[in-house]
């Protein structure tokens, strides 16, 4: 059972980590675009 849970945990952590990174990058870009649009 521990092998199975290890495999599933690795998948969950990797996918979750990647999704969080995408969300963080998106947030940073949106605020950069908002700031640049306000300066125009």
């Amino acid at each position: 059972m521990s092998w199975l849970l290890t495999a599933y945990a690795v998948v969950a952590i990797a996918v979750g980590g990647y999704a969080l990174r995408l969300a963080r990058v998106k947030r940073a870009l949106v605020s950069e675009i908002d700031a640049a649009t306000r300066r125009r």
């Binding site: 495999a7 599933y8 998948v11």
Partner: protein
């Protein structure tokens, strides 16, 4: 419209994930020889198939980029390559976690495993290449060439267990005579394939949206630089 589609997609993903996990733990039978560790199969195989899907998108988008020089195809290839590399990385991790208790070893240099590692290296190389080339046009052309030629390894990985004797198990889906799955295992696998395909699409769409935002941010930055230069001249 795109936002609504994204919400429907995310809801479908959650339902498919819940159904997949429910079926893995409460419906699919425990395999008689390997025991419960065989249930790694339900994520390992769909991850591999979706990685192939990702690299097929890279191939198609790269080909389209070379034909049209439209940056949208370059962005699509990049998004698919990144998610494809993530999925291949997970195939290369879940495989050895399954192999150790069953084969007694983490890894062996058989054709399927070695070609999968080569596949991962090709697309990690593709992503590295994108970091090292500064000119956007040159970067897009060079990576499109890698995206088209690198795809040759995908059919090799798929057919490796049919063409050569391997430590990796023989195919259970479309494997010909003597192959096959218990119907409960097969239905669980197809639900997991659907769930991981939805996951692939959800990650791909998010990654692609970032490329669109990055292009917009770059354009605004260039506009601001041009305005500053104009101001300095006058």
């Amino acid at each position: 419209m795109a936002r609504r589609f994204g919400m429907v997609l995310d809801a479908a993903l959650l339902v498919a994930m819940a159904a997949g996990f429910g079926m893995i733990f409460f419906y699919a039978p425990i395999e008689s020889e390997m025991g419960i560790v065989q249930k790694i199969f339900y994520v390992h195989v769909p991850l591999a198939w979706n990685a192939f899907l990702g690299f097929a998108i890279v191939f198609f988008a790269s080909f389209r980029y070379l034909a049209t020089r439209d940056p949208k195809w370059d962005a699509r290839a990049l998004a698919a390559a990144e998610v494809g590399v993530l999925f291949t990385t997970l195939v290369l991790i879940t495989g050895p976690i399954w192999a150790k208790p069953v084969w007694g070893i983490w890894w062996t240099w058989d054709a399927r495993l070695t070609l999968t590692l080569v596949l991962w290296l090709i697309y990690v190389g593709y992503l590295m290449l994108r970091r090292y080339v500064d000119s956007p046009e040159r970067r897009a052309v060079l990576s499109a060439v890698v995206g088209v030629t690198g795809f040759i390894d995908v059919p090799l990985v798929y057919f490796a267990i049919r063409w050569w004797r391997t430590q990796h198990p023989q195919p259970v889906i479309a494997g010909g005579e003597g192959s096959g799955l218990d119907p409960r295992m097969a239905s669980t696998l197809w639900v997991c394939v659907a769930a991981l395909t939805l996951l692939f699409i959800a990650l791909y769409r998010r990654r692609l949206a970032i490329e669109a935002l990055r292009a917009r941010a770059d354009a605004l930055r260039e506009e601001a630089d041009a305005a500053r230069a104009e101001g300095a001249r006058s």
